[in-house]
Symmetry: C2
């Protein structure tokens, strides 16, 4: 059987996962790829660092030139992550006629156009299945399985850290701070959890998926973003009463040739399969005009799940699979698609008020909502908390600007202390 | 743009779905395949039959030779379904150097070896994504996305009809007969529902998936099969009390190089995402040793969902995608894998007895279970029904033969009237 030499850049969590899979599943991988894969070089910062995994001497290097200049290396697996160094290495490798596999969502979300152009010019393959949702093969799904469809929507739980936190809050009644602490203790959240908790990570992934699905270029800066720091136990309890579960969703919809792109905490019906996606699991629902709703569920991170996607890409290259569709062109032209402003987006809403005047509040708020074309589906005041009195509303589908206009007036009412929560609802219609 | 001519055999539900998708998504399909697809011939039984869809004159034919002998036709899409006629047509088409796309699970489950060999000899592509689970791209998942994994388990809801019936029984409290009637009225179940309700349809699909996943040849006759006719409202109610939902599952597990293959009603934890898979939806969970649990959810039947898989296959052929892995050989050799006898399989069990002697029954049954190495997790007697008294058990994981041996003795007890239900449990561990 023919041998193929590959190099891995970065030997952290995912890098060691790839190493383990290549070793453990060697027999299966040989059968499926028709190659024996040999990792000849691994780029690390410190070759003398103590590691759990024993690597033969001479494989570790801290000099990228050892890899770029080695003509026997055919595939470079980039697992350094989000820095411009990673981008430079990938470009240099491609210019040395090496195929690329990467798990780097930042690189794809920011520099896909440039990277794919170079791959095209150099006639090498560039695979990035692991860049979105770890072990879930969402890129192949969009690029190869659903080609018969016009994709209408993507709705996903694509950040494991926030899903762990929200699951803890929902199932165990933890507070946000307690759940975050637990996530940090388990290694699911970083010391500075901003990227996950405030939705940035999900925004990058959504930019990649929606570019592919809608055949356009999505700038991640155009995606509306709201994190989960303000979600309280009270909202989770109210949501439950209304039949909903709170999840951080990434949502992309094409409506009349305009895109709605947003990442925010969302109430979803507790009977929807996505409501039971707990802990660090990810789940993505794609709606195509032929296939209908298709949902994927799996591990969105971790050494072996992400390694599964990386090694799958290596095998695809060895099988000389089709060239993956460019992010920016499905075959010839990128269509420009306008991204709607957040205030033009439409959702149902969950709104919770803190009030002081029981007699006045209902009539006052109902009038204001009515004047602003917001119609109410249901109201409840069941959850009592000490001296606070709160009132929760579920609205029919409304434009965000109508909600904002209503709340700007409601907050000025004498009968109302505060607008405590405004959370969108996704009903999967 | 280059044109490619294709023919469709059969113009029923899926055939018209394919026609609609090719028309409706023409622009997207051209972009993604780089071809303009023209359906030049459609094989039907009666060319004069009134149809909802207007087809240009000359396209419909009742003579297969019009298609086989037309050298300009490059792809034949076989949608006649489960007869040996379909097989013969596919063989003749391949011998005339035409690529094949089929949705025919019976043909794949029965004659895959022969069909793939001919495709190989004739150097044509043979795609069959639509043969299992309609719109869910499970074949590509196994063959292309999860190649880095040793697959350990496949567990799925892969028959929409039975899932509709069980959902109705669970959510609306319908009886089996009422739910079946409703399914028939809606066109989800046939006048003779045997193939769905007794599990045959699921068995064929499981044979295809497990052959691919385990790199072996699975004879569908070796799969243990049990339908849903005996599921009662009482069992659904008890299951709910224990925290479970009843689903018809297809299960394939590789344990110590032996296969466990079975299709039967199953209690699954109500907190598992699969418990919320309702109506005619399908869902398949694959467990790989790298990726962990990966689940897919979508429409397992219907004109457009199944058409989505068929047209996706056509586009894959046009993109000259990799040749799909043979059912029977992952690359070179098929491994023989022993299929375990049903009595050697292990599960947890739900067992319900009808008893007459409240004082005696608990001690009597507990002794017998104990003697046969069956240990009990919980017992309940909560659900009362008129003059009957029933007792439900949940066991720890046990070999089936121990369960059978216990029940053979329990049924002879004076304190017991009858063993009413024996349903396996799947805990997704």
């Amino acid at each position: 059987m023919e041998k193929v030499k590959i190099a891995i850049l970065g030997f952290g969590n995912v890098g060691t996962g790839v190493w383990k899979i290549l070793l453990e599943n060697k027999k299966e991988i040989m059968k499926r790829s028709n190659y024996e894969i040999e990792v000849t070089k691994i780029l690390v910062k410190d070759i003398n660092k103590k590691r759990d995994i024993a690597v033969a001497p001479g494989i570790l290097t801290n000099n990228i030139d050892d890899i770029i200049n080695d003509e026997s290396i055919k595939i470079v697996v980039e697992l350094i992550g989000g820095c411009s160094e990673a981008k430079d290495y990938m470009i240099r490798a491609m210019k040395s006629k090496k195929h690329i596999v990467t798990a780097n969502k930042l690189a794809i979300a920011n520099w896909s156009k440039e990277l794919f152009k170079i791959a095209d010019t150099e006639n090498v393959l560039f695979y990035y299945e692991a860049s979105v949702a770890g072990g879930i093969p969402i890129i192949r799904e969009i690029n190869e399985s659903l080609t018969a469809n016009r994709i209408e929507q993507i709705v996903g739980i694509i950040n494991g850290t926030t899903n762990y936190i929200l699951s803890k809050m929902t199932l165990d009644g933890s507070s946000f701070d307690e759940a975050l602490k637990e996530a940090q203790d388990k290694g699911y959240a970083e010391a500075d959890p901003t990227s996950d908790v405030d939705g940035y990570d999900a925004v990058y992934k959504l930019a990649i998926m929606s570019s592919l699905a809608f055949g356009t270029e999505v700038d991640h800066d155009c995606i509306y973003r709201e994190g989960i720091r303000n979600i309280s136990a009270v909202d989770i309890e109210y949501a439950k009463k209304f039949g909903y579960t709170i999840k951080l969703l990434a949502i992309a919809k094409e409506i009349n040739n305009k895109l709605e792109l947003r990442v925010h905490p969302t109430l979803i019906p507790s009977t929807h399969p996505m409501a039971n996606v707990n802990d660090v699991y990810n789940s993505i629902m794609i709606k195509g005009n032929a296939v209908g709703e298709l949902m994927l569920y799996g591990k969105g991170a971790g050494d072996l799940p992400t390694g599964s996607a990386v090694v799958g890409d290596i095998i695809s290259i060895l099988r000389n699979n089709i060239k993956p569709v460019d992010l920016t062109e499905t075959s010839c032209t990128v269509e420009f698609k306008e991204v709607k402003k957040a205030r033009e987006n439409e959702s149902e809403f969950y709104i919770r008020l803190d009030f002081k005047d029981k007699e006045g509040v209902l009539g006052d708020t109902a009038n204001i909502f009515g004047e602003n074309n917001v119609s109410i589906v249901s109201i409840t005041q069941d959850v009592e908390r000490g001296d606070h009195s709160s009132l929760a509303f579920i609205t029919h589908k409304s434009e965000e600007k109508n909600i904002r206009n209503s709340l700007n007036k409601i907050i000025q009412l004498d009968s109302v202390n505060n607008v405590e929560s405004i959370i969108r609802i996704e009903s999967f219609n």
